[in-house]
């Protein structure tokens, strides 16, 4: 046994009883413990495997590809998959499909999580404030949310991106703006449901500060539906980025973009030799979203079990 392996083995041994003994773990230790719990759900394990695969591909895109994503092979246009040196074939410009997928994964996995974090921070703050305080705060936040929500998202995207141009930052801004009112509305609904319950009144009578009530009494009790929502939304953000690419509003070409790749090849699906060009990136988007959704579903199952 190498030193490194022994060290990691003892580390696991040392961690296990520690996490069992201390019920209120904080921060990193809690995260490790929760990740350990993933073993209990096979859905979560598959989810971790798929997401992990794409994350690794995204991080090590330079190492796992032979050709560059923009590199054109003059001798190989429309090469079919699983033949020769191009694993997944090449497109109409002789670009390696696997390489474009790998760099496309990198783009997606930078934009989606960033947008999600921004949207949740904004959404939870808005929803809690509106639901808990009511009155004019609720009116103001709800009116703003209503206006954004009543824009069908696609119009919002088209307008934001056509006015400010297509770039990763603008996609993040657009997704955050579009997603946070939806999150806020769900949080507000849950808060309205919970705020008239006894334990909230008890906390109020105890003289707890409003911030404490919102963060400690309301938020944990709203987490069940919120986790279901977050689970669907992370996947949905990946889908949204794909949709933007598909509609020609995503990262500007020739940047590798999964949705854009599908859009370029969509017409060819009815032609036997060209169908792979659209099918391969479609499988990539779908698998990543399935991964996120399975992972989140497993997490929810585990969190509701105890």
């Amino acid at each position: 046994m190498t030193d490194e392996a022994r060290e990691s083995a003892t580390r696991i041994d040392a961690d296990a009883p520690k996490s069992a003994e201390q019920p209120d773990r904080a921060g990193f230790a809690k995260l490790l413990y929760n990740l350990g719990l993933l073993r209990e759900s096979w859905a979560a394990l598959i989810g971790v495997a798929i997401v992990g695969f794409w994350v690794l591909v995204a991080i090590f895109a330079d190492a796992v590809t032979v050709f560059g994503p923009l590199e054109q092979d003059q001798f190989a246009f429309f090469k079919q998959p699983f033949q020769g040196e191009h694993w997944l074939g090449t497109d109409q410009l002789g670009r390696d499909l696997w390489s474009r997928l790998a760099y496309g994964a990198r783009n997606t996995l930078i934009v989606a999580p960033t947008a999600m974090v921004c949207a949740y921070f904004l959404g939870i703050s808005m929803g809690m404030l509106a639901g808990y305080y009511g009155g004019w705060i609720d009116q103001l936040i709800s009116r703003i949310s209503d206006i954004i929500l009543s824009f069908p998202l696609i119009i919002l995207f088209i307008i934001i991106i056509s006015v400010f141009g297509a770039s990763a930052l603008n996609i993040i801004v657009a997704v955050t703006l579009a997603a946070s009112p939806g999150i806020g509305r769900i949080v507000r609904g849950l808060t309205l449901d919970l705020r008239n319950l006894e334990y909230v009144s008890a906390a109020q009578i105890r003289g707890e500060r409003s911030l404490y009530i919102m963060a400690v009494e309301l938020l944990p009790n709203a987490r069940g539906p919120l986790i279901v929502d977050a689970c669907l939304r992370m996947g949905y953000t990946v889908i949204t980025i794909g949709i933007l690419g598909f509609l020609g509003l995503g990262l500007p070409p020739p940047e590798p973009d999964w949705g854009g790749m599908v859009a370029e090849a969509r017409v060819g699906v009815t032609v036997p030799n060209l169908a792979y060009l659209a099918i391969v990136p479609s499988i990539a988007v779908s698998s990543l979203v399935i991964g996120f959704n399975l992972l989140a579903d497993g997490l929810r199952e585990i969190s509701t079990r105890d």
């Binding site: 009116r143 009543s150 824009f151 696609i154 088209i158 169908a275």
Partner: protein, 337 residues
């Protein structure tokens, strides 16, 4: 109740007003742009200048917005339809009527000629999809949420996860590959032409299937999640222990509480469905509202984008009003004042 609805109607008007102003501001922020967009790419500088002056485009944004609303509501004449300008914008409805959205450059005719036909097409597509999605997901969601962890529950859970994970553009690709390329049963596009070759129904199958596959899982999971949550509440246990028949516990005690969250979600689905409809329409070349919107936006057809936004916002706002009234009706714990 009546006061509440009236209040919400007033707010709906405010929302529409603000939304239309934001879109107007974004689309017509640069006045010079409006003149060149209206005249198209081949106009000379003089033509643009004449139009600029005629439309008084150097007025402040607010003034131009008020004028636009005036034309829209039929209070004032549409200046672009003035024969003196020689633009050839002729509307058989006249130049002053309620709902005058102006002239579409992309479709070369009054916006109203294209808008309503396209909207009708989309409502047919979305209506068929919705009529399948809602009952299906309510039944499956409630059945599987009733007994968490049962075979049906797990089956539905993983089916809906998979279905919801496949974006419309990807499932359009997969379905086309199977039913058009491999089997040859259905057409690959739904452009609503060539009915001799492919019937209306055969063209509708794939677009409707794409929408149902994608949205069914989402709504069913919401219903299920909410049902599971309610089934663990003490009052359900109490009801069961009191000896009330199980069916009655579900129908009277659980269902009403469980439907609160999904009710909001289903009505929120409508703006969401519009996004899905745009993608589906683009994927299959279906001549609907969404395709019109993207086409006109990419073309720079300001009037059509403004009209389409206004209609889409109206649809969304009215469904939200219904949602709020229903939400209050279902959950008596919420008191609006």
């Amino acid at each position: 109740m009546v006061v509440f609805i009236l209040k919400r109607l007033a707010m709906m008007a405010v929302t529409m007003f603000v939304a239309s102003f934001i879109v107007f501001a974004l689309m017509e922020f640069t006045p010079g742009n409006v003149a060149s967009k209206t005249l198209g790419p081949y106009a000379t500088k003089e033509q643009k200048d004449i139009l600029f002056e005629k439309l008084q485009l150097d007025d402040p944004l607010i003034t131009r917005y008020v004028r636009w609303v005036g034309v829209l509501t039929g209070v004032t004449k549409d200046p672009l339809q003035d024969p003196e300008l020689g633009l050839g914008f002729e509307d058989p409805r006249g130049d002053r009527y309620f709902g005058n959205f102006g002239w579409s450059l992309k479709y070369r005719g009054p916006v109203n000629d294209t808008l309503w036909r396209r909207l009708e097409n989309t409502l047919i597509l979305a209506g068929i999809a919705f009529a399948i999605i809602v009952p299906l997901s309510l039944v499956f969601g409630v059945l599987s949420g009733m007994r968490e962890g049962s075979m049906l529950d797990r089956g539905l859970s993983y089916t809906s996860i998979t279905l919801t994970s496949i974006p419309e553009f990807a499932s359009a690709v997969f379905l086309t590959a199977v039913f058009v390329l491999l089997l040859g049963w259905l057409p690959g596009t739904a452009n609503m032409q060539n009915f001799e070759e492919w019937s209306w129904a055969s063209q509708m199958v794939l677009p409707v299937a794409v929408l149902v596959l994608y949205d069914f899982g989402y709504v069913a999971r919401m219903v299920r999640g909410s049902m599971v949550e309610v089934m663990t509440r003490p009052y359900i246990r109490t009801a069961i222990l009191k000896g009330i028949p199980y069916r009655q516990v579900i129908l009277k005690h659980a269902l009403r509480n469980a439907l609160i969250a999904p009710f909001t979600v289903i009505l929120l689905q409508i703006p969401f469905l519009i996004t899905g409809v745009v993608v589906t329409e683009i994927a299959f070349g279906y001549p609907g509202f969404g395709k019109m919107l993207l086409e006109s936006a990419l073309f720079g057809d300001i009037t059509t984008v403004e009209a389409a936004t206004l209609i889409a916002v109206f649809i969304a706002v009215s469904t939200q009003l219904i949602g709020d009234v229903g939400y209050m009706y279902i959950n008596p714990r919420i008191r609006f004042t």
